[in-house]
């Protein structure tokens, strides 16, 4: 006896159709899963057997073979439990096979037969949608997420509920999220930052122009505090961006079950011990890394020189192209990774540089080694570099700064003006840039960066064209001599 269920498996972020075939033979009872199933998937045997028993259904006393086709695709994860159970039940004629074929099933089984949510439901539902299947059977908790794909979701809490539904006995009750309230925004507010006028201004430019920002300075000057406040002044995601980000976060299991749609720019701050695979993605699957999770949002690298150099260098591709191309034995994947990079660092290994109260004790060699850790190519990716010196005590008495709520509207207007185009440099502005290239060491890329930042400054000022003062301001955020290799 033969039956089939359809599900989807994720390769990177991309759903791939998998047919779960169950075959029952009159022979010594046994249960085998074939078709490149990984460990979690092999363990499905035990969960499915217990789940079926707990649902008061009959476990067929046959030799059961489950094939996950196509066989060459590596199957990872526990989402196959539900389709395996349903295909076995259909093969043993406990539910109608034709009805099952109209659905995509995706979910993990508990030993008591409950259906548990699995990461990546949104991508699976989208896969089903594209393939023309209009109903997805998944855990009740996944309903809001799967519904984002614009598909009919059948929320099942228990295997017995799924079987009763497929037999046409009764529809499962609709899923009701715990409460209708949206989570209160937890974005940190710029009002908490005392003084720091120049870094605040740089933060505003970064938000408006989407520039990468490097904050350098001695420890304890509020670099991380500033960096963490960038997401709070970014405009909310556009609808299609929100769906894109939600899909990624769904695969990573980062969504809130009640309010799955990610509306605010994501913020990721991996620890500096993170591996290359953790930053750009990889592993079996492969899975998205922090850079991809920060897609359309902010990636903060606190203490950037402490990160492993290969991890930092791996960020150069996404910083340039906005995508990460991962090729592994287990498969290849293209992850979107168009993020805004914010990094903080000290000016020297001991941290004393730039601190009037401490004396830097670093030798010239140690300083050189510290600078060499960050490649020129990576530093070149930062349009804005701000040195944050230690404020003196009386500067800390400066009042609280502008709140994020006052900055965000300016950023939004600046973005619109930038998107509208125009804003070329006036002749005097060109002259100033040419003069600056003579005077300060500026590479061709450095010159282009100054041009971009100047455009953002002009947009924030509401100017028609880029004037010399905008170019001059942009020049203030070029990489300082301390970080230059020379």
């Amino acid at each position: 006896m033969l039956a089939q269920a359809v599900t989807y498996c994720l390769v990177g972020l991309e759903p791939r159709r998998v047919e779960v075939e169950a075959h029952l033979q009159r022979a010594v009872p046994a249960f085998a899963i074939v078709g490149l199933a990984d460990r979690a998937c092999q363990e499905a045997k035990e969960r499915v057997r217990s789940g079926v028993a707990s649902a008061q259904l009959e476990w067929p006393r046959f030799r059961i073979t489950v094939n996950l086709a196509p066989a060459e695709l590596r199957k990872i994860g526990s989402g196959f439990d539900l389709p395996i159970a349903l295909s076995i039940l259909a093969a043993s004629r406990q539910l109608p096979e034709e009805r099952l074929a109209e659905h995509v099933a995706f979910g993990e089984l508990a030993l008591d037969g409950r259906v548990r949510p699995v990461n990546g439901v949104l991508a699976v539902a989208e896969g089903a949608c594209t393939a023309g299947i209009d109903r997805v059977l998944c855990a009740a908790e996944s309903t809001p997420e799967a519904a984002l794909a614009g598909i009919d979701v059948v929320p099942v809490r228990h295997l017995a509920e799924a079987v009763a539904y497929l037999r046409g006995e009764r529809d499962p009750p609709p899923y009701v999220a715990s409460n209708g309230h949206h989570p209160v925004g937890t974005a940190l507010d710029l009002a908490d930052v005392l003084g720091q006028e120049r870094p605040r201004r740089a933060l505003e430019l970064a938000a408006a122009g989407g520039h990468n920002l490097l904050l350098a300075g001695p420890p304890g000057t509020g670099k991380t505090m500033l960096g963490r406040r960038l997401p709070g002044i970014l405009p909310p995601l556009a609808p299609e961006e929100a769906l894109e980000v939600t899909r990624i976060h769904s695969v990573a299991g980062l969504l809130s079950p009640e309010h799955p749609l990610v509306l605010a720019a994501p913020f990721r701050a991996p620890h500096h011990s993170a591996s290359t695979a953790a930053i750009v993605g990889g592993g079996p699957g492969p899975r998205p890394g922090e850079a991809t999770l920060a897609h359309r949002g902010v990636l903060l690298l606190d203490e950037m020189p402490e990160f492993q150099r290969p991890a930092l260098e791996a960020l150069r591709q996404p910083l340039e192209d906005g995508v990460i191309n991962i090729a592994r034995a287990g498969g290849r994947a293209l992850f979107p990774a168009r993020f805004q990079l914010v990094a903080t660092m000290n000016l020297c290994p001991c941290g004393g540089r730039g601190d009037p109260r401490a004396e830097c004790s670093c030798s010239a060699q140690r300083l050189a080694a510290f600078r060499d850790k960050l490649s020129r190519a990576l530093l070149d990716r930062f349009d804005l570099v701000v040195t944050v010196p230690r404020p003196r005590a009386r500067e800390l008495e400066a009042g609280r700064g502008e709140p994020s709520a006052a900055v965000a509207p300016r950023v939004a207007v600046g973005r619109q003006r930038l998107a509208a185009g125009g804003l070329d440099r006036t002749a005097p502005a060109d002259d100033l840039l040419a003069r600056a290239v003579e005077r300060v060491p500026l590479s061709a890329r450095g010159r282009a960066k100054v041009g971009r930042v100047a455009r953002t400054a002009a947009a924030l000022a509401g100017a028609e064209r880029v004037e010399p003062e905008h170019v001059a301001e942009a020049l203030a955020y070029r990489a300082p001599a301390e970080l230059a290799a020379a």
Binding site: C360, A368, E395, A485, A486
Partner: protein, 331 residues
Amino acid sequence: MTSDLALAAFAASSGAHVVSAPSSARFGAFLDSFDPAGFATQLSRRGVRFVGRSDAAFPPLLRAIHDPPPGLFLRGSGEPEVLTRTAVAIVGARACSGYGSAVARMLGRELAAAGVVVVSGLARGVDADAHRGALEADGTTVGILGCGIDRDYPAAHAELAQRIGERGLVVSEYAPGVEPAPWRFPARNRIISGLARATVVVEAREASGALITADFALEEGREVFAVPGEITSALSAGTNALLRLGATPLTSAADVLESVGIAPPEAPEADVGPEAAAVLEPLRDEPASADALTRASGRDAGAVGAALVELELAGLVAESAGIFRGVMPAG
């Protein structure tokens, strides 16, 4: 009379410090096998020139020291005549402070603008800033290496060395292929001070290499200037000790120019806008961060940033680790 070139080549092949022809058998054997024409061809293929101690073009000031090198290898497009012009050495700590860096740059610029050749050691810190200052003024500067003339040491200064060579010279007493070694740097320092009429020590810790340069200068009876620093800063301990021993305190580039007999050029009136002038005012008293200047001026951070860049381009302000410093002579 052994040729200067053979001596220099012997120094390179033996790794020894050679001042006059040694009477060893090793040197005899070397001389027998040495091919001066072939060596000269190799040099010219690398674009390196050689000025022997006995050549007329050899700088007389350097010839006058008690252990002049057998000759100098030259790289760059400057004429050897550059080495005979009035020169001032600017030396100091590699790990210098923002103050040291700003002062070195200012001196390099002002001395070069007055037509003085700025001599230094191409090292990080003060040396590099002195060279850069001279280049900013479109002046002539000479970098002295402590390793073979074909090497860029430190490697990060390859571009700087190339820019120095556009009008000036990169100089070494060592033939191509000689590795940098710790003992070669003090030897290099005697050339720095030997070429210069006066030596300026900008910032030096106690027992700094820059003090060796100053000692050489004093031994040869050349003028030594020291830039006064804060008495609480370890980075100024060496220079302040020099001052106590009787070095001339340096308060402006004009002090040096006066001692070498060059009239300081009329300082061109700084041409900056009113906004920049207002930002500059507090910097005449003490260095400050951009944030402090923003609050002091009452302008927004963007405008102050633009004004600071204007001042930097005009050479009136230098930035280091986020602290801005006025670099016009006080008064």
